[in-house]
């Protein structure tokens, strides 16, 4: 029997019961549609996060103080004073993989200008910090190495700080704001960076020479963090290894003892976040796959009903010359056509849904052809798998009994 005839027969049989075929397909449509939408949205969110992070420059390395234990009590990292300016010098001198490094000293002081005030997150850094972390200056200039050396009372402020301290139209450049008790002159305004991947406002920041924060605000001589950049993204693993060995040496940490610092790269954060979104995607796709399974069972159910209902038709087809195999194939084609057509509608539906969703969420729209291809094969497999038993039942009918079936 010609395949084209088989397809014709199955297609016509489905057309005779349009509503039923459509309702049966609905299960597959929803199943495939949701799988596609979930996977595609998951990939969109991963992509949106990774583009955001790479805009922050992927070769950033952060060195933090590790938490420490004293007499069995974990005292956290707040009191640890292990990192100093000397470490930065040692890292810069000791590793060719590091292009720049800046200390970070954090403080928070109420910022006051005229009648306005705002809780300022102050970050003491050196002149390289901007280029390490991809900050750009909208107007004014960066402070200089000289400013750092002399603990100059100058600062760069972010857009959120500008908005809260200054009235509209007022030019903050050259103005002096008060941070706690210290008057500080604004020498530059940072370009807006928006929120970071954790949802933190990166524009709510006041950058100052770290020496100023150390000596004039906190009266400390250690630093909180080191922010460094590797010469390239590929070199960042080697740079991390260099930093670790240099710091262990300068901190005189014995063989086998724990580090008193912690090194993190932007890449690690990226990996962590994408593993979280990846897991979520997998979970949602698994739930969607269950609905696909239910859709498949729906097909099987309807095919059983169809076979019983069309027993006489099957008997007639056999009487006029259909072989058992022809009947088997006809019903397999019917179930496969339903699941494939349902799958294609579902794909269109899923792609549409994820397109609309990613448009409103402001995520990049990702269309994964591999997922589409797999879904297509899954549909075909569902049609054949769930259509097999009903089709077998049909093809095993005895034409004599089938013709007389009431």
């Amino acid at each position: 029997m010609k395949v084209i005839n088989l397809i014709r027969i199955s297609w016509k049989a489905l057309l005779r019961n349009k509503t039923r075929a459509l309702l049966t397909m609905l299960g597959i449509i929803i199943g495939i549609g949701s799988v596609i939408a979930m996977v595609s949205l998951g990939q969109s969110s991963t992509k949106s996060i990774s583009t955001e992070i790479s805009s922050m420059s992927t070769n950033v390395i952060m060195v933090m103080r590790a938490s420490q234990t004293q007499g069995g009590i974990n005292i956290g990292s707040g009191n640890v004073q292990s990192l100093t300016q000397n470490d930065i010098e040692a890292i810069k001198a000791g590793s060719v993989k590091i292009s720049k490094a800046s200390p970070v000293v954090n403080s928070s002081q109420q910022a006051v200008y005229g009648a306005n005030n705002w809780p300022g997150s102050i970050r003491g850094v050196n002149e390289d910090y901007l280029s390490i972390n991809n900050f750009e200056i909208a107007s004014g200039t960066n402070f200089t190495a000289e400013d750092v050396k002399t603990s100059e009372k100058v600062c760069l402020i972010g857009k959120t700080v500008v908005d809260n301290l200054f009235d509209d139209g007022e030019n903050p450049l050259g103005q002096v704001i008060r941070l706690g008790k210290i008057p500080v002159k604004i020498v530059g305004i940072l370009k807006s960076k928006g929120q970071n991947q954790m949802g933190m406002d990166q524009d709510d920041i006041i950058l100052m020479p770290y020496t100023t924060v150390q000596k004039r605000m906190l009266a400390i001589n250690y630093i909180h963090m080191i922010s460094a950049s590797a010469i390239s993204e590929e070199a960042s693993d080697l740079a991390v290894a260099d930093i670790e060995s240099i710091l262990r040496r300068t901190h005189k940490i014995k063989e086998g003892a724990d580090d008193d610092f912690e090194v993190r790269t932007q890449q690690q954060i990226l990996d962590m976040l994408s593993s979280v979104t990846g897991m979520l995607t997998l979970l949602l796709a698994a739930i969607a796959a269950i609905s696909l399974l239910v859709g498949g069972i729906g097909i099987m159910n309807i095919m059983y009903v169809t076979v019983t209902e069309r027993t006489r038709e099957i008997g007639l087809r056999m009487a006029v010359g259909a072989r058992n195999n022809d009947i088997l194939k006809q019903f397999l084609f019917e179930s496969s056509i339903m699941s494939l057509a349902g799958g294609m509608i579902g794909m269109a539906f899923g792609v549409g849904l994820s397109y609309i969703a990613s448009y409103f969420l402001g995520w990049p729209f990702v269309l994964n052809l591999i997922t589409m291809g797999i879904s297509f094969f899954v549909c075909a497999a569902i049609g054949i798998f769930f259509g097999w038993y009903p089709a077998r039942k049909a093809s095993n009918l005895d034409p004599i009994n089938a013709l007389r079936y009431e």
């Binding site: 027969i9 007639l316 006029v320 010359g321 058992n324 004599i400 013709l403």
Partner: protein
């Protein structure tokens, strides 16, 4: 004349639980080309069993069956399907048309299972078969849009479409009123005069009179096999009183 059917000592037994039912107890006969044979018998006489074997839907327990000089007894299931497709045209009591499918597509059905027929040929052959039964103006109608007699004509066209060596009718007039039965029988007679061999299974003697040979079965054996004087179905149709209910109603209204 060419022999279409030859059965020799045909036996068919069924095992029902612990009992053996002898449906056919060794019957032999021949049917030649151009004959119009009715097979008669009450229920339980074995005529349905014989029909199933003649239609290649069932196989005898023992004995030989030659259809168009082919020994059917030794054929496989698939070979029997092909025989049914090429050599036999079935007409059933309840028409067995596919619902919601046009008359033309219903008639095309057997040809879909014949890979030697192209799509174009299929259409032409189906149209020709519908012309033969006088339904060329109803090709696009679905069964629900046709009367019982017209549906049976579509079924006959479907039986004719593959140009079989014989038509096998199973109580083909059983669901029809007298007038329509006679119309169908006159169609069978017309096809018979054109040379078609027809085997007509019935239990109604007044239908069997339109055939030219009657084989009577009882308890699995042939009790009578004789040529009969054929009555013309057209004549019978004309002799029917014309006062159908409809006309009586019209008269009363007038």
């Amino acid at each position: 004349m060419k022999t279409i059917i030859k059965v020799d000592k045909l036996r068919r037994e069924f095992i029902m639980g612990i009992e053996i039912v002898y449906a056919l107890r060794g019957i032999s006969f021949e049917i030649h080309e151009g004959e119009f044979v009715s097979i008669m018998g009450t229920s339980g006489s074995g005529k349905s069993t014989l029909l199933n074997i003649l239609g290649c839907l069932d196989k005898p327990t023992s004995g030989e069956y030659y259809l168009d000089n082919i020994s059917v007894s030794g054929l496989s299931k698939n070979e029997l399907s092909t025989i049914r497709n090429r050599k036999i045209g079935f007409v059933f009591q309840s028409y067995n048309l596919l619902p919601r499918t046009s008359a033309l597509e219903n008639v095309e059905l057997p040809l879909l299972y014949n890979h030697t027929v192209s799509g174009k040929e299929r259409r032409e052959m189906a149209m020709h078969a519908l012309e033969l039964v006088g339904l060329s103006d109803r090709m696009g109608h679905t069964p629900s849009q046709l009367s019982g007699g017209q549906q049976q004509r579509v079924a006959i066209a479907r039986a004719l479409v593959n140009d079989p060596v014989m038509l096998l009718a199973d109580e083909a007039t059983g669901n029809l009123d007298t007038r329509t039965s006679y119309e169908i029988m006159s169609l069978f007679q017309e096809l018979n005069t054109k040379g078609k061999t027809i085997v007509f299974v019935t239990h109604e003697p007044d239908i069997a009179v339109f055939t030219n040979r009657i084989i009577k079965l009882r308890d699995g054996l042939i009790i009578k096999d004789e040529a009969v004087k054929t009555m013309s179905a057209i004549a019978a149709l004309e002799s029917l009183p014309v006062n159908d209910d409809y006309e009586i109603m019209v008269e009363t209204l007038n």
